[in-house]
Amino acid sequence: MNSEYTTPSDNDNKSTNMTPSGEIIRLNGHERLQHLFTFLTFFILVASGYALRMPEEWILKLGDAGKTLFYYRGLLHRIAGVIMILAGLYHIVYLAAHREGRSFFMAMIPNLKDAKDIFQNLAYYIGKRPSPPDFDRFDYREKAEYLALVAGTIIISVTGVILWTEAYWSKFALDLSLLIHGMEAILATLAIIVWHFYSVHYKPGKFPMSWVWITGKMPLHELEEEHPLQYKRLIEQGLIDSNDTHHATPTKKGFMQVIIEGIVFLSFIFFLGISALLIKLLYFPPEYQRQDQMANKGSMETFFKKSEAKERIGYFHTPDASVAVTVSNPPVCVQCHGTFPHSKSPDVRSFLNMHNYFMACETCHVHQSDIETKMDYVWFDNQTDNRVDALTGDSGVYGAKLVPILTSSTGKLQRLDHSSNEDFVREYQANKNKLTLEEKAKAKVVLHKDISKKPVQCTECHGQKPYIDFATVGYTPERAQSLYRTEVADMINRYMKFYLPTMFDADLMRKKKTEDLEKENRSTK
């Protein structure tokens, strides 16, 4: 047993194995270098590899940076992969050629005692044994981790090389390699977090970290505790002196110590998140939403959901983002009527909807003649709801809506597009499926109590005696003038047939036009 210590190396190493301050060299320079290579390449490989498996929304947010990331990700992954393989070869050569390498290898070989240790240690954990079993230089946890590392490195290197030389393999071999490469990566990353990071970072007593990977040294008291067999043997061989074993006394935390502890604690939360992502990837791989599964969403909804105007295929005249007007505090009207509410009057519905883009419903649907108090018209910003005095933009894209307001005798302003009725509307919305037709009709009367029977007609504003003084409202005098005479009037000369004056007289039009259109089966009524 433990024949590695009978090799002359131990005697020769007396000076290197021991340090005057009661420590032992646990990892020599080669081993620390190999750990450093493995550690660095592992992180680069994990980061550059899982960059491909990021949730799609994250990748989309990258925009053009994604291009650069994609390029360097692949390059880095390959470079780090090569270095990892080289570090593995370095380790093999070290194991074979170096005396300490051979001793390291011999000490790593699992034996029957390890199997016994597992059960005894578990028994100790659950309180069936007073103390843990005596471990040797490498306990079963370290051996298992080392062997998993060796196996994992081989598996992931082979599949990685296959994927790199894809042109020479069949699709089946590549698919299988990709699967194994990804699965092994999940296994390795989770194992590092759960197994390795716990035992060298998060374990009470180790926190914030075991310094062996940097200094290579382990204090004798720690050796005595964690690897008692090796400790006893070294004492028997006279390589260390038990008098040097003194337990550490708690020292006052320095500033650096606090910083490091903070970082390690944050890393715990970070790796918890990473583990969650990996577990999601393993058991719930992303299933992208298919077109036919999205079918029952309204076409308008899908239209506005599409972020890039260019994706709005089917809209030949590539509309820009201005089409989707967003209002931070929308009026309750849109809950039932939508943002394109006019559909009944076939000839003017699009024109009316166009007004809806930059006007509150009440601008036309509350008529001055139905209200005792004088109404004023004010622009309100779509986002901030602040009053807009200087109008910017054109073609209705002002970022603001024209809203009628009332000023009470006390000087308080009331926006008519946010009526006192809103709570009733919400209640109605929530319960409307339970209501009978009669109840619904009654509720609707209440809902629309402030709405005029007859809305403001086109010619009332666009005529010589304007209903709204456009210049006062904020349009330039030139624009106001053009609104009074209506630009549309210019078109009369250009078209052979033009539905004026019926076009702007809703009553006449409804009578005459809807009859015609119903005959042609074009009415949407």
Partner: protein, 398 residues
């Protein structure tokens, strides 16, 4: 009183002036047909009876910078005689528009594409001119094309966006009309690259091709796992040379409009052409120049097996692969009537074996990870419990 009259008179004169001076200039220079008087408003639109959105907004600057920027509205939208436009004809891209095609000096038209597309897998008619079954599923021009805005490039090799001032200077040496020359430069350099990004192309094709119902009507399999491929990752990350659908199904040397079915020898993805297609030697990006025949023959993006399917296949053995998937069954049923020689939905013996092995490996690995990591976690939790307990007992050293 007098002031008021003077004011009115001035307004009257101003209106006359604007009609005689301003308007004609405005109308005939930029918006000759005055369509934008109404159509410049983004809110101009409505919801149709069937709930679909009809948008009548045309952005002036965008249109002028588009490939059709010089074509008048009425050249495509025929019969625009009435407002509201109730008697317009649906736009037909085969219409001869009143631009002269310089190489023939004849009226230009996209009509030739109609012949090409009707001859392709996407055509609405069969070879003998009869309409195909479910021909309404077949794409028309606007199913794929929008009125693209010019995206000129300033260099051919780098494909950097913009206008090369140096090249434009050389053109202007002879072609002195700056506006025309600039437009011609854009017209030409716009075609040096695809006007759609790879992502746009993929999403465009998937609009139909991932629709299971629509595909099965035509005896096809919906593209189920293209988004699992590395090709899609490149597309997703905006890699400029990432392969989209066109890159393989209509690479250089194959027509896009005349795209053929994969079972026809004229298709880029016909089994004998695959190696060449993967290599893409004549493309901007030489994708897999060393592609072997073995590499090229696999299925790129056919329905994969989920974990549940895999477990089911593993437990049920033999016929499970074909039986578990109800949709696949339906497809076979339909194919009995569709008269299709090869059902792409069923796998040959090798493919079925590959899929089974793949599913098995996936299953075993998932199980392995679950057991190993789960065991480790349990071990560490116990270790934590014991360590904390000991620390408390010994008053906490360190």
């Amino acid at each position: 009183m007098r002031d008021h009259e003077v004011k009115q008179g001035l307004v009257f004169i101003w209106i006359i002036m604007s009609f005689t001076l301003l308007l004609p200039q405005y109308l005939y220079a930029d918006d000759e047909e005055a369509c934008l008087v109404c159509h410049k408003y983004p809110g101009l639109g409505r919801i149709d009876k069937d709930g679909s959105m009809r948008l009548f907004y045309v952005k002036d600057g965008t249109y002028k910078n588009s490939v059709h920027g010089k074509v008048l509205c009425r050249n495509c939208h025929l019969n625009l005689d009435v407002i509201p436009h109730t008697d317009t004809k649906k736009v037909d891209c085969a219409t001869k528009c009143h631009l002269k095609e310089p190489s023939t000096d004849r009226d230009f038209s996209h009509g030739s594409h109609y012949t090409e597309i009707n001859d392709s897998v996407h055509g609405k008619v069969t070879k003998d001119g009869k309409p195909k079954k479910f021909s309404e599923d077949m794409p028309g021009c606007t199913a794929c094309h929008v009125n693209a805005v010019y995206r000129p490039v300033s260099s051919i090799t780098g494909q950097e966006a913009g206008v090369s001032a140096d090249a434009l200077r050389r053109c202007l040496g002879c072609h002195e009309n700056k506006e025309w020359t600039n437009r011609f430069y854009r017209h030409f350099s716009h075609r040096l690259h695809s006007s759609k990004t790879s992502k746009e192309t993929v999403l465009l094709c998937l609009r139909c091709h991932e629709n299971e119902k629509m595909m099965s009507r035509h005896g096809l399999v919906a593209t189920a796992n293209y988004k699992d491929t590395f090709h899609w990752k490149g597309v997703l990350f905006n890699d400029p040379n990432a392969p989209d659908c066109i890159s393989c199904h209509a690479p250089v040397g194959y027509p896009v409009h005349g795209m053929k079915s994969m079972v026809e020898p004229a298709s880029a993805v016909y089994k004998n052409n695959l190696r060449q297609t993967c290599a893409n030697i004549s493309g901007v990006q030489q994708c897999h120049p060393n592609a072997t025949a073995k590499f090229a023959e696999g299925e790129i993006h056919q329905a994969g097996l989920g974990l549940e399917d895999t477990i089911a296949a593993f437990i049920k053995d033999k016929n499970a692969l074909s039986d578990i998937d109800v949709l696949r069954k339906e497809r076979r049923f339909r194919n009995l009537f569709a008269n299709v020689d090869v059902d792409p939905g069923t796998f040959d013996k090798d493919e079925a074996f590959h899929r089974k092995v793949y599913g098995l490996v996936r299953y075993v690995y998932t199980l392995l990870i679950t057991v190993v990591i789960g065991g480790m976690l349990l071990h560490q939790i116990l270790d934590f419990y014991r360590t904390v307990k000991n620390l408390k007992k010994h008053g906490g050293k360190n």
